[in-house]
């Protein structure tokens, strides 16, 4: 039977991507599945100060770097947190302040460059291993990312597909989420999500032995607890107030179809496992900023989960 490894929300972290590619061998898994949100959230400017000198503000700390070694070192630090370094100068920086479309272009270029590097690395590392790798961009990933993933020889783009994992288990996958306060790239109303899920579920041969690889966790599952925010996106009550933000459509789909396994992400703090009826739902969480790959290993049996464990790699 299939032993799968699932991780999610690595948000541009090179370290986490490398670890993900190595996880099959490390844990003895047959299949690697990456949930959504592959791309990073920030570009960090390296502002040219003349000569070989740059000023960098990383996590509100100002670094003055000089020479290739120091530049490489700061670039490594930036990338280790999943952010994208961008060499610029004070004039360009000033110019960009009133041109959000140019900022978006820079962002997109950086994102796509890194995803391309990742796909190249995957093709190199996975060549000849026979390892199956599935990837499904999430609500934070721009649409342009899909084409880059599809161009990979070894990474299979899983969005909207029904994928046979072995003779008994199929997987459906979606990176779309319910509405968020951030108006991200792949989000829609619950009614539309319900249609999206049903379209895939209707194609399953045996829903009870299926894996639902859906980025957003089911509503009120404990895997979807996030700090309550006010209208300015500020955590209320100093983050002490938590509320469920998962998808009601997904919860209903799971309740009705009772698949074997649900694999989720989206809420980084929501690490855990729970049951909705007979379905085991897992959100391994994310600590991508720390270069730690959180994941889960699940051994699928026929009509049962033989075993599972959450990992901290």
């Amino acid at each position: 039977m299939t032993k799968l490894f699932f991780a999610t929300d690595i948000h541009g972290s090179d370290i986490c991507w490398s670890k993900f590619l190595n996880a099959g061998k490390f844990y003895g898994a047959d299949v690697l599945i990456l949930g959504g949100d592959m791309t990073g959230k920030a570009v960090v400017p390296l502002i040219h100060q003349g000569g070989n000198n740059y000023r960098v503000t990383l996590l509100e700390q100002v670094f003055e770097v000089s020479g290739d070694d120091e530049v490489q070192d700061i670039v490594k630090k930036i990338r280790s947190r999943g952010y994208y370094p961008y060499v610029t100068n004070p004039d360009e920086l000033l110019d960009l302040q009133n041109k959000p479309e140019l900022v978006h272009e820079i962002f997109l270029a950086q994102v796509l460059k890194v995803v391309e590097q990742w796909m190249d690395l995957a093709d190199k590392k996975l060549n000849g291993t026979g390892m199956k790798v599935y990837c499904c961009p999430g609500n934070d990933d721009m649409e342009e990312v899909d084409a880059v993933v599809r161009s990979s020889r070894h990474v299979i783009h899983a969005e909207g597909q029904v994928i046979p994992l072995d003779d008994h288990h199929e997987m459906i996958a979606s990176g779309w989420s319910n509405r968020t306060p951030w108006n991200t790239h792949r989000e829609e109303d619950e009614e539309q999500l319900a249609v999206r899920y049903e379209t895939m579920i209707s194609k399953l041969k045996d829903p009870h032995n299926a894996v639902f690889n859906v980025h957003v966790p089911p509503y009120k599952s404990g895997l979807d607890e996030a700090p309550e925010l006010d209208k300015d996106l500020r955590p209320v009550l100093a983050g002490q107030s938590l509320q469920p933000v998962g998808s009601t459509a997904l919860r209903e789909a799971i309740r009705k179809n009772q698949p074997l396994l649900g694999l989720h992400g989206h809420i980084h703090e929501g690490r855990g496992a729970t049951r909705i009826g007979k379905t085991l739902c897992i959100n391994p969480g994310s600590m991508y900023e720390q270069g730690t790959l959180l994941g889960t290993i699940v051994k699928l049996g026929r009509n049962t989960i033989e075993n599972y464990v959450l990992t901290t790699g």
Binding site: L59, T274, M287
Partner: protein, 549 residues
């Protein structure tokens, strides 16, 4: 980081309010519950309580730095359990955290129950005219057990209600409690010793049926019981000796720390630090004001004598019920300065918010650590199950409530002298903090890349990472506390318990309790590890770092 280069993505939130963070940390070092309760038990020391408060706060500021730093480097990690397991590996982190955040909370249950009756029920029932019931609740045995059960009921209700609702209750409780405390302070600073003495005699007689001459009788009983702690003064050594008791009150500013959200920079570190540090400073100042107010109107010596008289009876050193048959709650003593029953009721009601806004989180950390351990497969999956209808973690709750009932029974009826282990409730958490402090010290060296790409990478003292420096000072402070607690070099002259703290190695109950909890944690860890191995899961491997290359 320039906002120009941060895109809209899930979880990119703005910073939380420092004032809100301050409120939760302020409630964690709760002056009225933990403070009033522990000050009153510290009647037999030689060091002044005002200098002791200040010295302890100076050391605890380093705890604040340690926790704010760890949150900045490893946000979202959920606290001591994950920090320790990440830095030390599985076994140490599990055993220290499970004991500190779960098993020890069983012992806190009857202590919370004791506070419920002393701070809320007895004074309120008294001023409401229910004398017999008020005095019954103040009594030994069953009354305390009933209050422990009431506490468990309240805490279970909070867990079912969820933190979204309770966080709001806490915030309203802060304002109500502060108003009550303000009135108490005004009464203490505007009253006079003569007015207090007369009001004390009159109101105690009316409310609790005490005899005439109560003031003198209480002073005599307290002196006989060994009341000695001064307000000021005492040598540095004597002041330090008070600290292992005092930290029962103020070792907890980190409980209010914000663990969630995406830490985006040094500002978030400063927000967490500021919230906790201001809470510590604010509570320390309020504590000093309270002491000065007590000394001014109630009279410091009388306050300590009343405490001594009560605890000497409550701890079972005498069967003679003290002249005042209830705990000398200082807020209640302050409202005795007025004969207006309505004011008394309102003030005692307001003061009860200090308990209700604080006690609900008794098992909050326990739930988190039980869940984290279950997700790591070190506990059965069932313990982390949520009830389908209500979303309540029923099994995890039972794992906390059932043992807590048993421990409450031992404590309430003082079976085998169990009431003497009160400070073990602080001791086990301090041991866990010690583990976290060591983790903080070595973090910049053991997780170099992680530290250097963190928001605190540039915070250094003489070239040494601030987190390491703060960790060393906090660990040294904890080491001092642990030595005092374990070896209690100030045991009675015959070298017999209880000594200063009651939980030394000479106290068999304390040793058995501590060993039993650590033994249980070790048995769970190694038992489940072996069981998972037979199921094909190597728990060491699932915690090990995957090679990057």
């Amino acid at each position: 980081m320039s906002n120009l280069f941060v895109r809209k993505a899930t979880g990119m939130v703005r910073s939380w309010s420092v004032f809100d963070a301050f409120i939760y940390a302020f409630f964690s070092i709760n002056l009225v519950t933990l403070g009033f309760y522990s000050f009153s038990q510290m009647y037999y020391f030689g060091g002044g309580l005002i200098p002791a408060l200040i010295v302890s706060a100076v050391f605890i500021i380093f705890e604040v730095i340690v926790y704010a730093s760890l949150i900045a480097v490893m946000p979202r990690a959920g606290g001591d359990y994950v920090w320790q397991t990440r830095i030390f590996g599985g076994s140490i982190g599990f055993i220290l955290s499970i004991t500190g955040w779960w098993f020890t909370l069983w012992l806190w249950t009857p202590i919370y129950g004791d506070m419920l009756r002393q701070i809320v029920l007895t004074p309120l029932l008294g001023v409401l005219g229910l004398k017999d019931l008020a005095v019954w609740f103040a009594g030994r045995g069953t009354a305390l057990f009933v209050c422990s059960l009431l506490t468990l009921g309240f805490v279970s209700l909070v867990i079912m209600m969820g933190m979204k609702s309770y966080a709001r209750i806490q915030k309203y409780s802060f304002y109500a409690g502060m108003l009550g405390l303000l009135i108490v302070l005004v009464l203490l600073f505007t009253g006079s010793p003569d007015a207090f003495r007369a009001g004390f005699e009159r109101n105690s007689a009316a409310i609790f049926g005490t005899q005439s001459g109560l003031y003198d009788a209480t002073a005599t009983a307290g002196t006989d019981a060994g009341a000695s702690t001064p307000l000021m003064g005492g040598s540095l050594a004597l002041i330090f000796l008070t600290l292992p008791w005092l930290v029962f009150f103020n070792l907890w500013p980190n409980w209010g720390a914000t663990l969630y959200g995406e830490v985006r920079g040094a500002t978030d570190y400063k927000r967490n630090f500021t919230g906790m540090a201001w809470a510590l400073v604010g509570v320390t100042i309020l504590g000093i004001l309270f002491f000065v107010g007590v000394a001014r109107t109630i009279g410091w010596n009388f306050y300590m004598q009343a405490n001594a008289a009560w605890w000497n009876y409550s701890w079972g050193y005498t069967d003679q019920v003290p002249p005042l048959p209830v705990w000398p709650n200082p807020a209640m003593l302050a409202v005795f300065l007025t004969d207006n029953r309505l004011i008394q009721i309102i003030v005692m009601l307001l003061m009860s918010f200090w308990w209700f806004g604080w006690a609900g989180t008794l098992f909050l950390s326990s739930t988190r650590v039980v869940f984290a351990a279950a997700f790591d497969r070190l506990l059965p999956e069932k313990v982390a199950e949520l009830d389908e209808r209500t979303g309540t973690p029923v099994n995890a709750m039972l794992l906390m409530v059932i043992p807590a009932v048993f421990v409450s029974l031992l404590y309430a009826y003082n079976i085998g002298g169990f009431i003497s282990v009160t400070l073990a409730a602080t001791q086990a958490i301090a041991i866990m903090y010690f583990g976290t402090a060591i983790a903080a010290i070595i973090l910049p060296y053991k997780k170099k890349d992680l530290y250097e790409a963190s928001p605190i990478a540039q915070m250094k003292v003489a070239g040494i990472p601030l987190i390491t420096v703060a960790g060393v000072i906090f660990a040294a402070f904890l080491a001092f506390l642990l030595v005092e607690w374990f070896f209690d070099p100030w045991l009675n002259t015959d070298g017999v318990p209880p000594g200063l703290y009651g939980i030394s190695l000479a106290n068999t109950n304390s040793v058995i309790f501590l060993l039993a909890t650590y033994g249980l944690a070790a048995a769970i860890y190694y038992g489940f590890k072996a069981r998972r191995r037979t199921e094909g899961i190597d728990l060491d491997k699932v915690q090990a770092e995957i090679p990057v290359e």
